[in-house]
Subunit: 193 residues, 2 copies
Amino acid sequence: MSTRAEQRERTRTTLLRESRRLFAGQGYAAVGLAEIVAAAGVTKGALYHHFAGKAELFRAVLDQVQQEVAERVVAAADAEKEPWDQLVAGCQAFLTASTDPLLQRIMLVDGPAVLGWTQWRQLDTDNSARHLREALTGLVELGVITRQPVEPLTHLLSGAMNEAALWLAAAGGPRDLADTQAALARLLDSLRA
Amino acid sequence: MSTRAEQRERTRTTLLRESRRLFAGQGYAAVGLAEIVAAAGVTKGALYHHFAGKAELFRAVLDQVQQEVAERVVAAADAEKEPWDQLVAGCQAFLTASTDPLLQRIMLVDGPAVLGWTQWRQLDTDNSARHLREALTGLVELGVITRQPVEPLTHLLSGAMNEAALWLAAAGGPRDLADTQAALARLLDSLRA
DNA sequence: CCTTTCGCATACCATCGGTATGTGAAGTAA
DNA sequence: TTACTTCACATACCGATGGTATGCGAAAGG
């Protein structure tokens, strides 16, 4: 039927896909392992063969989600030539991408609670916030942004976008998205030297 | 020994105090009802007589925590005379207060995950973010802040402070706090007309 | 006093995450 | 081919957890 490595990879992928779908739709706490393995067509034995437990399965899902968002952000930034425009485009892209309810519950709501804020921040920094920090650092060194500590600024902006994305997904119409993009653009503009 | 109303009130208060202590220290998921009722010196029967379940007990705790933070913020704001200074003082006070690890795990990490973001946002708005929105609205009407939609701005600023507070508590020294206060002040300043 | 109410304790249950062990097929060397 | 090993997963089971149904004794009310 197939080699062992292929089979292993297929099972792992299915497990990730199904658990991601369930976590996104119902939230981490409301999804049982029984439900996950049933959806994946395997048993708990398979799950525990691939992951150390429910939390680590979630961690793998979160990592995947964040990488996808980061890809979209980087792509949007790379489409611009000027470093400043790259920052703005990246932020706008992040805000738009994070508005997807299927992503944000995993990324922004359950993530910190399940893994603890420290580990969540670590993952977020590795995948996503790192780009923001590097962009800001670059702009400071270019003299485009007022010289100042970058780390606090990174967290302020990252948090602002996260919370705004949650609000937009819960209660916002297209008009709200435009307003938020505009307000964010103004905030960013205030950083210019 | 005592009247029934007094006894009822005492049990409820004890339950809230002990569960708050445990939730703050270990996180919602890691605390069992058995641990809570043991610390409070009662049984699960008492807990379920006062609260509909674990989540509603947490909700009551969160409400209490947020009200305390809001009190500190309002007090700091009221100490200023000028509306603009009230906004700045309130934000600085919120950032400082939210840095307390015993508050922020309940308020910022477990809150959204346990109650769902919508209900958490409702509580936060009723207790705390409402003041921010009203302050911003007032400043817009006074012409101190550029006329713009207030709601997006409220969420951007609220999220910025929340995330910054989490970062400060996890990794920050006193220098970081000062830097963050300064960066936040600059962001706020950019709103002025 | 007698009855009702109520604050809480006791006993119990279903489900959950997690583990220990079994099993059969894929891989490997003779 | 054969005999042996490895590995991906299934089966069976366990302790703990949130939740519920019921019992009880003291305070409240007439």
